[in-house]
Assembly symmetry: C2
Homo-oligomer: 191 residues x 2
């Protein structure tokens, strides 16, 4: 992708995060870069295609962060520790992007939504695999696998809604606390 397209996406993320996708026009985005209203068109034919490009980039980046953190040679507790920390930090460090890609999904076309769903499922699958492994090996004492699979990543996603706050402004500190909570949720027996 061109530098011009990357700049458009970056400004679009700021606008969508601040005002919402629906309240932002491609004209607003062009104006922020001192471009003519038609300057977005060669790169993104529609506002929705811009949202899709942002969503694809964002969810791919979040998935990569989680996959890289999941070192398969480690035990389930270490793997949940590193993946949860990575996912929380991704949502704190990329708050605007995270907000757009997690909360503006309804504005994607059905085909684009489907593509993004595949990426989101892959991210969930990383957590599912760790939770299943911990459950099978007995290292975790899980009450309900489905609930843990939903709640643990959800806690990280929610960070983009409010981070930073008075209590938490350091992403590393927050990640450490949320890891502790995630390990409790799965009943990790590892010290």
């Amino acid at each position: 992708m061109s530098k011009a397209a990357a700049r458009l996406r970056a400004v679009a993320v700021e606008c969508f995060a601040a005002k919402g996708y629906g309240a932002t026009s491609t004209r607003d985005i062009a104006a922020r870069l001192a471009l003519s209203p038609g300057a977005v068109y060669p790169h993104y034919k529609t506002k929705e295609s811009l949202l899709f490009a942002i969503s694809f980039e964002g969810h791919t980046s979040a998935l990569a962060a989680v996959q890289q953190a999941d070192r398969l040679a480690d035990g389930p507790t270490d793997r949940l520790t590193s993946t949860m920390a990575a996912y929380v930090k991704w949502h704190a460090d990329n708050r605007d992007l995270a907000r757009v890609v997690q909360y503006e999904l309804r504005s994607l076309s059905p085909e684009h939504f489907e593509t993004i769903t595949v990426l989101r499922r892959s991210t969930s699958h990383v957590f599912k695999r760790i939770i299943d492994d911990g459950n099978t090996s007995g290292e975790f004492d899980i009450i309900d696998v489905e609930a843990a699979m939903v709640a643990i990543p959800a806690l990280a996603v929610d960070v983009s809604r409010w981070f930073p706050s008075q209590a938490f402004s350091d992403a590393d500190v927050l990640a450490q606390r949320y890891v502790e909570l995630a390990l409790r949720m799965v009943g990790s027996r590892s010290p």
Copy 2:
């Protein structure tokens, strides 16, 4: 408030939840009720005042649900059980309303935002009091009070982002599972 105003708010919640606040006009809302574009004005002078009325009603209702569930004569474990269940169910049962009041806060005027913040703090305070009580009495074994105070209500708020899903379509079942996770997060020693 009049029946006409209540109908406007109900339709506005549907529109804001489906398309987002920014992408909805008061004209859209009037059209859904087969009213003239000017019909909203006698009730709500601006779209923002409509959002504020909805936010005030929604956050007041969520706060009431949590306060009513917090029976002060009970122990901290029972109180966290009933308040978390009530908060999860509120977000599942009022999903569209919850989505609007939790995710469209940025569109409120600064004064209205301040008013809503007071209500939101009161809700957080219910959880804070229970967590503090459980910590003080030793019934809870909390690692970090601030983290628990953020994470537990956040898990309930997040429900409005995705409920229902393939795994969870019954609000009571979800509430029960999330209560179990919340009790683990605080390290409840009660059986």
